[in-house]
Point group: C3
Chain length 410, copies 3
């Protein structure tokens, strides 16, 4: 079976402070890079999946939005119907750090993911072996596995004697699910966590690096801890909750990360979270998948433009309309200069409008207003003494961004 | 539905003047590069397309002939059966600059496209939104849209505050179509044009750059205006006509381009065209698609080698044989040295022989004899004064090339 | 039809001498590179193949294990049922140098191929035109063709006036095939050879370069002749034999290569071979394809884990288990220093265990113990006189490696 998706995005960086250009360029004053508007493909994927008799499955999905630089996404083989382990997959697959990255980009309410989700679980997929399961009553679902922390989607292999493994898991529950209405009401709660062994001696650096774009598609990461020096291990813990009441959905997540450091550096603690509310003006609801604990496919009451009736006639339809607002925050600062971590503190509001044309296609509008505060900035052109005005100081900038996406999946 | 094509090409640069090596290297004497013979893949594509209920469509087709460097080609989503707009597509799609680039490489009579077509509409596809339509009687068909002028097939995105938009359209008519013979006789006429706003301040330069290989696959472009300095806008106008009389087809196109320049530079005018005649020795004809105003799939009377008869027997067949000759010209020179544009003047005759094995496969032979005249050449090794013999002078070279292609599509 | 495969590999370089690091880095002391463990994708392929009425076929298969760097593999068009030529393919396809590279990686007994196979026929596929045939009694099968020697899977084209063609063929026989038992007993014998015209003047060097990894996936080639200076031609001859007796299979190949050199250099002779025995503990056998003279798909008596019975019940199964041992040798040294070739002499034992889960999936374990002897090493940091201890000397190193592969194909 061939599947895929097309996401065409436009982003406008309406307004931003000068410091934002420094953050966008990587934190050095010399590399400051004014964020540029953008028009193009965010995702252009297709691939194959299927099953092998009697109980194996496989999937390869390629991302071609990079043009010359293809990357793989889901790429695994595995078994279903195993005792105890249920589904077991080996290969490139999403790490279960909380909810928002497990939700497919096909179903997520906002165009891009929140700071803390993007930072702690950058690009989500890693090479690993993981078990996926749920109980018969669909009250609980879980997934857990061992992953190597390096993203190999662009190289294909991790070539290093220093493996950087982690043990990651998520346990979710759907304590309320209104079967009668077809799932228009439900509650979800989950905890997730990872215990990761980073290696400061790894050839291309340790994997304790947490960074995020501004919940929009910019060239640089506006929050960025860099590779945290002498990071020897980290532990992440997350909690998440969803309440759905018909057309209204309320979602919140909080994640906290502790980084153990050696060579005399102090440990660092980073955290963040988000809450959002979404509402269908046209009365639909966000469906829920109780086997995976994630959002499911949204079906408008009426498709956009042509609706073929059973009697052979054609009606006009206007699709489904949804509004949403999100508040997201992340604090990636901890400690004192020359010892601590100063990736920056992000706070942003996102206002969204989604127009669903049919179950496989929609358009999304986002307006984002946010601030990155107290990110460390360096000014290499200044000599160490006397330090220049921007040398190793904490800087702050505000921004506003608008974005639009056209999307189909198949 | 999965579709694609395989084109295997061989090119031999039989004979060329020394100046051709300078043109092939980019116009600097120091970079002169003798054109080398070539053997490999010209196109190696596959992808997926389909429809989404009730009236949406999508397509992704990848080009893998570059080996490590994949690129996308058609990559869009859209609607059919819309009021007024009929078919509306968003994404990477061909700009309607005249006929020859709208014709699929699967059906085109010659291996490579004429100078003016390749130059004004390099690689044809751009990110845009376009409407495609035709009238019920199939007397008229049209397409028009707004495109960003940068080709993003290798990068995926245009990242620049300076959008370079254009409004492009083509209106075509099929005033004569002989239904009785199944379309063995028809006449087609069309006009096309674009109004393009180039931006001299764009990060990677303005899009007023017009260049072409010698209607064969060379490393360099033998006609090349470079990015025309201070180009602020351009307008293209094209006319085209096709007459088909059974096995004989006559085709001609002419296009003219005006480039508006600022900073005190004179405007530049470039133009070119081609005519060709093709004839099926075996009596078939070139079919026409009246909904898009382009060549359609050619069906031999007998497939090559095995022809399964209705009675279960097998006959031998020799496919279809077609001969063709094309004259192509382009004048990309205008003005005086240090102010004008001197991309060169191309004139070439191409002689073609096509052997169609079945509706999806054929072999093509081309012999090309041409001249590139008065292209500006620089000699950086010479100091500005006294200027060397090749410094900022207009040079001319003759060449002859032969090519062969093996092709299937599926 | 869409097909493909997923191979996930892990390699551990358990133990190796210091000289191995020098070989792994390319033979210069300054570039010594300790072999690093590896985890990732060895093959991640999918593509399309099909037939075109009445008697044409095509195939495109892409390799995406390189992440950003896609490559094509089989990419051809062709005919079946031709008189005399039988099947004729044009495009990228395997050269018939002996058995082990013609065997699919889906069916081969060991994870990686032997020294001599990898070296003489690196990456196996080349652009060419080749005929494939067999007689009605399936006693003989053959393939022969003309290929260009440069691998174009990463670039797509060979751009060079200096073609480097070769004429290659293989004639195989299956003198014994036990039809009654469904092919549990058979004998195969074949000879293969090539006559290759390399060109010392080719832009990117001549194609007389023979090199191999240590029958495992390392970064560098541990045996490597480099491009043999002034190589003007080479001729390869190989013999191969297979005996299958139920669960037991015995296989051996020997290949010898003569390199003709000009400019006063002596000709060089390289050779190598391997033998292996494999045995199914669970009683299955290695099937044989008498039309191509290669291994065919292995079918376990019972699939792993779930076996659906005809009566609708489910049984548990443990798949098929196979053990194997291989001895491989290659001698790529010939002549005297400053005139001869000193790519090194490899000898290795590989012990394998294969767990077949079903006809399309299996797991492989390999343990390798080997030695690379007398490879020439240079020490650029040493001045020519007095020569340093490692300057232009022949060095030897031992190693042991373990590997594991998870594999599905579809």
């Amino acid at each position: 079976k061939v599947s895929g998706r097309v996401h065409v995005d436009g982003w406008g960086f309406a307004d931003s402070d000068d410091n934002i250009s420094i953050f966008n360029g990587g934190g050095d004053v010399d590399d400051a890079l004014d964020p540029q508007n953008r028009l193009g493909f965010r995702r252009l994927r297709f691939g194959v999946k299927g099953d092998i008799k009697d109980n194996m499955i496989y999937k390869i999905e390629m991302e071609f939005a990079g043009g010359n630089d293809s990357e793989f996404r889901d790429a695994y083989l595995g078994w279903e119907e195993l005792p105890f382990l249920q589904t077991l997959l080996i290969g490139n697959q999403k790490r279960p750090y909380g909810l928002d990255h497990l939700n497919s980009s096909r179903f997520n309410v906002f165009i891009e993911r929140p700071f803390v989700i993007e930072s702690f679980n950058q690009d989500a997929r890693r090479l690993g072996i993981a078990s996926y399961g749920y109980d018969d009553a669909q009250l609980f679902n879980w997934r857990y596995g061992v992953y190597n922390q390096r993203n190999v989607q662009s190289l294909g292999n991790y070539i290093d004697d220093h493996l950087q493994l982690e043990l990651t898991g998520r346990l979710a529950s759907t304590p309320w699910y209104d079967e009668v209405s077809g799932g228009r009401g439900y509650a979800h709660f989950a905890i997730s966590g990872t215990v990761a062994d980073t290696d400061p001696d790894a050839i291309n650096g340790n994997e304790a690096r947490f960074r995020s774009r501004p919940e929009a598609r910019s060239s640089g990461r506006w929050i960025d801890t860099g590779r945290i020096a002498s990071a020897d291990a980290f532990q992440m813990m997350g909690v998440e909750a969803v309440i759905n009441l018909g057309a209204l959905q309320l979602v919140g997540e909080y994640q906290t990360m502790n980084v153990d450091r050696i060579d005399g550096f102090s440990d660092a603690n980073l955290d963040g979270g988000y809450v959002y509310a979404s509402y269908f003006l046209t009365g639909e609801h966000m469906p829920w998948d109780r086997k995976s604990g994630t959002l499911a496919r949204i079906t408008p009451f009426q498709n956009f433009w042509s609706v073929r009736r059973c009697d052979g006639g054609v009606e006009r339809g206007w699709g489904a309309w949804q509004v949403a607002v999100r508040y997201s925050t992340a604090d990636f600062n901890d400690g004192v200069i020359n010892d601590g971590v100063f990736g920056g503190q992000g706070d942003a509001w996102t206002f969204g409008l989604n127009w669903y044309w049919n179950p496989n296609a929609r358009m999304q509008f986002n307006y984002i207003n946010g601030q990155i505060a107290n990110r460390i900035v360096s000014d290499p052109a200044d000599p160490p003494a006397p330090a220049g005005p921007l040398d190793n100081t904490l800087q702050t900038g505000d921004y506003s961004i608008y974005g639009v996406r056209f999307m189909v999946d198949f």
